[in-house]
């Protein structure tokens, strides 16, 4: 069972729809017991960082996630805000600590070209920076759908397996062992997004 973590925010229905579409059984859940039994986890996006962390804490989900991801090495995919929550901390609406599984801060997107509007909304190319199973069979430079105001910025390569340019390069996808994350929305990126999701569900 694929556990889609319900922390009161996010487009959970869309994520479940995409998981179903690629042939897997998913469950939207905020029940620590149920999530503890899942063989894979997805931490969806859409939300503000402080509210996201507060909700994870209030629902007692941080402990079960820590146990599943760090002790039992269950693969997890963070999407958009869920990806940012994997980081050390964020400056969105003040300073808030994240889960800390990806060693990077989350900061506001500041394109070096004033003509580029923020939030960064729409389809943009993802360059594959190092080998990652998520991108199996997906063209380098394929378009994915982004919608975000904050970003993570890691050195390209290594943990940062994908990058994107929007008035400066930022991290579009990460892998640190069993911890995966994408700044873009695979559940909303048509064929390429569904292919990436299938890779996560089949190959990790």
């Amino acid at each position: 069972m694929i556990g889609i973590i319900d922390y009161g925010l996010g487009n959970l229905t869309s994520v479940l729809g995409a998981v179903t579409k690629v042939g897997f059984d998913g469950v939207i859940s905020s029940d620590p017991g149920e999530l503890a039994d899942c063989e894979k986890l997805i931490l969806p996006g859409v939300g503000a960082f402080p509210e996201g962390m507060a909700n994870l804490n209030d629902r007692g989900l941080v402990d079960v996630l820590d146990d599943q991801v760090r002790q039992r090495r269950v693969p997890i995919l963070g999407i958009c805000l869920g990806f940012q929550l994997l980081g050390n901390n964020s400056t969105e609406f003040g300073e808030t600590d994240g889960l800390g599984w990806i060693d990077a801060p989350v900061t506001v997107l500041t394109p070096d070209d004033a003509a580029l509007r923020v939030p960064h909304v729409g389809w943009n190319e993802v360059l594959q920076a190092s080998d990652c199973v998520l991108f199996d069979g997906i063209d380098d430079g394929a378009l994915f759908y982004f919608v975000h105001t904050y970003k993570m910025e890691l050195p390209s390569g290594g943990v940062a397996v994908g990058t994107c340019d929007y008035g400066g390069r930022f991290t579009a996808a990460v892998q640190n062992g069993n911890v995966f994350g994408t700044q873009f929305h695979p559940e909303k990126s048509q064929q390429c997004g569904l292919a990436l999701l299938r890779n996560f569900l089949e190959k990790t």
């Binding site: 925010l9 869309s14 503000a48 909304v121 389809w123």
Partner: protein, 249 residues
């Protein structure tokens, strides 16, 4: 490089899809012409006017639609409270569109942004040309109620309150197929730094190019055009690409 978006707007009355002309329903064409593999984003709006209508019929339509929709889905119509927002997200919305509810109570924009992030709030503005003078005025409540605000001012304030995108609609151009009101689009695009989507008036593929190049739009929206053409969104995008607009083909 970020692509310009081609967005399809679908309007529903009591759960039934229809097109509009001058903001009035026109049920002549009620087929679903959305080519969901080519379109970049979809907006679904509940424009039922009876304030006591059952919202469930719209939620049911969105739920069904969202199951096979793997592009972003913005949903709106009648959003007044965070409970409405939660409902719209629960049935499959990726972002919400607010209009009259934000005119009545601008803090609604901030409440949504603080919970779901700015990128989740689209401020929809309906504007009419002023009678006998230059400029535009924002109208709310199905374009029936004057607000005294200019679209540029309201867009700017909306951005300050937390809106992540602005959707500007020309009431006069609705259903006209005469092209976007480019001056209106440009005023709003110049007023804010968030992406601006334009709606109302697109009658041919050239109008999309004008909307982006002259109107300053990040995304061009259509409601009616596919009702009148046999050709697809894919052909519109090929045309835009030939004209030098960066789109997702």
């Amino acid at each position: 490089m970020l692509r310009n978006r081609l967005v399809t707007v679908l309007t529903f009355n009591e759960g039934t899809l229809f097109r509009t002309k001058l903001f009035e329903p026109d049920y002549r064409y009620t087929h679903n012409f959305v080519d969901s593999w080519s379109v970049d984003e979809i907006v679904m709006l509940d424009v039922s006017r009876d304030p006591t209508h059952d919202k469930q019929s719209f939620y049911d339509v969105v739920t069904q639609f969202a199951k096979e929709c793997f592009v972003p889905l913005a949903v709106g119509g009648g959003i007044r409270s965070m409970e409405d927002v939660r409902q719209m997200m629960a049935v499959g919305g990726d972002k919400v569109v607010v209009n009259s509810g934000a005119v009545e109570r601008p803090e609604l924009i901030t409440e949504i942004a603080e919970a779901y992030g700015s990128q989740c709030v689209v401020l929809s503005i309906d504007a009419r040309k002023k009678d006998g003078e230059d400029g535009y005025e924002v109208f709310s409540h199905f374009a029936g109620q004057a607000t005294g605000m200019t679209p540029a001012d309201w867009a700017r304030r909306g951005q300050e309150l937390g809106a992540g995108e602005v959707l500007i609609t020309s009431v006069e151009r609705d259903g006209s197929l005469q092209g976007y009101d480019l001056a209106l689009c440009r005023q709003v695009a110049d007023a804010v730094s968030v992406p601006v989507l334009g709606l109302a008036g697109a009658g041919n593929w050239k109008h999309f190019v004008e909307g982006i190049e002259q109107g300053g739009l990040s995304a061009v929206c259509t409601q009616n055009i596919y009702h009148f053409t046999e050709t697809s969104i894919a052909s519109a995008k090929k045309f835009m690409d030939r004209k030098g607009i960066r789109v997702r083909l």
